[in-house]
Symmetry: C2
Subunit: 319 residues, 2 copies
Amino acid sequence: MLTKEVIIGVDIGGTNTALGVVDASGQILHRALFPTRKAQNADDFIVRLADSIKKLQQKLSQGHVLRGIGIAAPTANYFRGTIEGPANLQWGEVELVKKIKSQFDLPVALTNDGNAAALGEMHYGAARDMKNFVVITLGTGLGSGIVVDGRLVYGENGLAGELGHVAIDPDGRECACGRTGCLETYVSAPGLCRTAFTLLAERIVPSELRNYSPNVLTARKVYELALMGDAIALAAFDYTGQILGQALANTVSNFSPEAIILFGGLAEAGEFLFAPTQKYFERYLLNIYRGRVRLLKSRLQNGQAAILGASLLVANEIA
Amino acid sequence: MLTKEVIIGVDIGGTNTALGVVDASGQILHRALFPTRKAQNADDFIVRLADSIKKLQQKLSQGHVLRGIGIAAPTANYFRGTIEGPANLQWGEVELVKKIKSQFDLPVALTNDGNAAALGEMHYGAARDMKNFVVITLGTGLGSGIVVDGRLVYGENGLAGELGHVAIDPDGRECACGRTGCLETYVSAPGLCRTAFTLLAERIVPSELRNYSPNVLTARKVYELALMGDAIALAAFDYTGQILGQALANTVSNFSPEAIILFGGLAEAGEFLFAPTQKYFERYLLNIYRGRVRLLKSRLQNGQAAILGASLLVANEIA
């Protein structure tokens, strides 16, 4: 499909935007990273993204030919090439494919970050040879990519698979999407921190977390304290895993997948999150699915799956 | 596909089993009905089902040739031809296709009742020309059939689409499946009655429902009292619609369908259920889906969609 040709894969996250030059074997030859949120607005972001792509182009060796740009982003619409009002970025609707195409004379394709991660896992990661699986991306938000019968589920409008905005409790936490109780308000890096503060308010056990304000606490800090045995940090991971396990049991009742793959920054907290997620997942699974659905960790490095998947998206289109 | 050939479609419900002789144009020429629950166990049920099929065979005119038997049932596994421990029938796993085939020298196919209803709606009902939609069947339980890109979603094990067992509240009502908080414990004929008793306990408003015990109250009686303006009956429908509307908003975040179609006995309560379902559905929908997903009533007569769909299933297989 590609010979010495390469594709630039872009992963637009709620916090950072990561870019990579990907070759035909899925190797990332060059990388770039810039903070998504420093952009004033969508137009400013597009200027920064175009700059970053141009700098990567300059790094290409003589033998490399750039064949396209694949982009993964939250609430991306594959059919329309638009980003449609992501909850974590106050951008409104952005005609991203059109605007990037106007600056680069190349094929450009856009999909949901979760869908891109699913493509990455299917070709290079934990979902090789699988036809029915779900990838959950855990970072600033909770994204998902759903594969049924070997194909990504886009739905009628290209917007399927927003599992981060499945409401798990209609009276629950406020979400940036304007509703309440969305899964990602509990299961995400900020969700973990919110849980920590709820637990600090409920319990009287000493915790190093009592020294942190909501404005400075990060999921990484909760993880570091969990490593040191902090009771609240450990309980915050357990609760996050409980909510995720319950939600994934419901996901199975929808799709009956072979596996669910956890991926992303928060998933890298390893057993602190994975163990309770698995425990509650098995506990809440409907009897007909028990023992039939594997919960797996991503087999791709964090920051790679969406870049690889985004590059596969455009590679498939120009094939 | 069929000329003067006919197929017997069977719809195994939690209360009744309905059969129909279906011709190529989707007309039901002969019907039969018997109570599912009177069967002592799965083997006894199969005897009754085989008897009923034989009686329908005897009614066929000379010009008709029976080409197959299509069966719809809860927790049916299309791939394996088995019913796998339905929550509303204490049957355990039943090798239904094998057992029916051993008595009739004909093609036999089995699918989830919700999937059969979806096939029926797609070919003869409200989903004609749709490629992405969800059918919700409301009766003794809550079933579903999910169509993505024109194809039924079976998942890895043939068991996808058990939306009645999506848990909407892990601390909620006990379900016959052994878990708690399943959607169908709220949204189904028995769920409506359970809600009525909860409301009777919470509120002091007079209600004709205070004359009924849990053992005798039926969803039909709640409907009749709602028609007469009974406050608790009306509130029970409103609450049922709220829970259903919230759940369907979550379904949209999974599948991004063009429409959701309500079907079955409880759906026939008309506006008492439909109006609050629609109100809460629109209220809880994620912004990117608003105005893009229609909530529709079935265009098929109750008792027809699953029979038609089951017949289509086997018609497709022998085509």
